[in-house]
């Protein structure tokens, strides 16, 4: 009786069998969901990392600019193309309104991404894999990615970052082996038409 105080004895009323069963089932489901998340950290292969570092935007920019030429293999649409060696650190920069550089990765190899922004919040959205992470100014989000498929992937921005937000895209190539990497190297070294 939702408009009047309950009748005397409301507290002692026994719970009906169906409601009791449903509450029991629901409780078990809830506990399973909780355990599942912890279990995925142990057995699953997709978990957000807990590693982040504090870093001033200017400082991150310095790292990014020092790192890009090291493994640069060319340029695409005016954006440097970088092929970092497997296992190395990757400084993918989010800035109004670009992702830099274009990356060339090898399938099955792990790369330590350092995601950071030098201005506003951005959303790292890898498509069509559909993996999404937040990118902050002032923080380096350390995520160790291992691409499991080859192909061309787009990085979109999916956190609003001003009027040019929808123009903020980047690119990641994943190649099978060193020979394919070489093909890409030649493609991006050649002068673009």
């Amino acid at each position: 009786m939702s408009l009047q105080p309950p009748a005397e004895g409301w507290y002692e009323t026994p719970v009906a069998r169906d409601e009791r069963s449903w509450v029991a089932v629901a409780t078990v489901v809830c506990l399973c969901l909780y355990v599942w998340m912890i279990g995925w950290h142990i057995y699953g292969r997709q978990n957000p990392s807990s590693i982040s570092y504090r870093i001033e935007p200017a400082e991150y920019m310095q790292l990014h600019t020092a790192w890009v030429p090291r493994y640069q293999i060319g340029e695409e649409n005016g954006v440097p193309v970088v092929a970092p060696p497997p296992g190395s650190d990757v400084f993918l920069l989010g800035q109004m309104w670009r992702w830099a550089p274009v990356l060339v990765l090898q399938k099955g190899q792990e790369y330590t991404f350092h995601l950071a922004s030098v201005d506003l919040l951005h959303g790292f959205s890898l498509q069509p894999v559909n993996m999404n992470f937040m990118v902050y100014p002032g923080y380096d989000y350390v995520l160790r990615f291992r691409p499991t498929e080859t192909g061309e992937f787009t990085v979109m921005c999916n956190e609003f970052c001003g009027i040019g937000h929808h123009m903020m895209t980047g690119k990641i190539y994943v190649v099978e082996n060193a020979a394919e990497l070489e093909q890409l190297r030649q493609r991006f070294q050649a002068p673009q038409q």
Partner: protein, 561 residues
Amino acid sequence: MYRAPIFRLCEITGLRVDRTGERLIRANAVAAVVAFLTAVVGALLLVLTRWQTVHLLPAEWYYRILTLHGVNALIFWIVFFEIAGLYFGSTIVLNSPFCAPKTGWFAFGLTVAGFLLTNAMILSGQADVLMTSYVPLQAHPLYYLGIILFALGALVGVFLFFGNLMVARQAGMYGATLPLFTYGLAAAAIIAVITLVSGAIIYVPTLLWAMGVLPKLDAALYKLVWWGLGHPAQQINVSAMVAVWYLAAYLTVGGMSVNERISRIAFLLYILFICLASAHHLLTDPAVSSVWKVWNTSYAMYLAVLASMIHAFAVPASIEAAQRARGYTRGLFQWLAKAPWGNPTFSATVLAIIGFGFIGGITGVIYGMEQTNIIVHNTLGIPGHFKGTVVLGTTLTFMGITYYLIPLVFRRRIVGMGLARLQPWMFAIGIALLAVSMIGLGVLGVPRRHWDIGFSMAPFRHSFPAVADLLWVLFALGGLMAVLGALLWIGIVVASVFFGPRLQGAEDMPLPIATPVRTQHSSTGKFVAPGTFVLTLVFLATFLVFFWLNWKWLAAAWEVR
């Protein structure tokens, strides 16, 4: 400052109504409808822009109207209506006077001032920061001031609710235990305190930062505290909505909670744990650890989800038990088939329960898990989820109950009852279509808050699978239908409140108030609501299917740790 309240006796409910309190309820409800209209106009423009076949607004105006829509739909409409609801539940329902009417008007003045100032700043193009206004994105200081004024006024309103409870308690209007409806509102009010205090904690420094007094605000700290406002604001809705479900079950079929203790424990779980879910917004973010994420995102081991699942049984069960007591006992579902479907409050409530559970609830739990959030964060699936909770759930519920509140509080008859019967269906089907297509687009990776997914001016283009085109058409269809349903509701409300024939007596009541039926279920060995039990099992099965799908999709993604 004692004021002798002027009561009128309601001949329909037999309740004593404090006229001053009633005027405050009316004022807040009218403001709610104005905010809702603003949000709906925004929604129309947004649907016609994101559906890129039309692509109505230029980019600048798209983000501007998106800010307007978010703030008005998720904050102003909902909070104004909830304040009206809180006043209703703490005065009229308890036969009790409003504790401090002058303060009530002061609070109303603050909220209206905040509402006007915020919207003025948005429309003048000085606050293109979206509802979340993530620092270091910066708006004009007056925008933040507007929100602060609104939050302050709302906070005063919430404390007046507690004041009303104390007055009623002292006058012995409810003994020790509140009516369940008011109890649910009390839960909402408690969550509102958490929400509004978090809002103050974050918006005051942000205002100072925008004024140049504070040199810098940490982006992570801002986002953490802001969601202490942003998410619990929607949990107020959940709690208030469930309270209204119990009320609607009572008014339409005379349904009563099959076990008051269990229903109250569910509200208790909301109060204690639901606000932890603010962490849903930080699952793919740096700076907070997985331990913090898993604990908070799960509302401390899913205790608030347990609460929602309890209500998901208890509310339909209250309807079923009442119907069965009335003699509709054949089979599992005769009670449902013979329900008063012609009563728009009833149909709105049932549709809201189904929509909230199957669309909003299932996606909410799965998208809010730490790892699956990776494949949905900031995709269109997220607004798809909360179209299911806030719009199909809360908004439709609030729409439904107004068909009783207009005659009871505004003392007017409903203009266009035939249309009113149609309205919940139109709105529900529209929003359901909209939400489901958004969820589908989210699965494809389509971003939310994005003006051009054709990437016509971007250095690299991405094209989404062809099925996206079909989903966009459904999105537009659903969106337009929902807008029509919303405008229809606004039309009925405005016509009834301002031009409707005055209610002369109980015989003028457009919708009957059902006679409560005493249900007997003293034996624990019995099923009180077998039909509902089956329905909840169907819900559980649907949940498991969607759970399995999402984790399968996640497992197919790149490895990340």
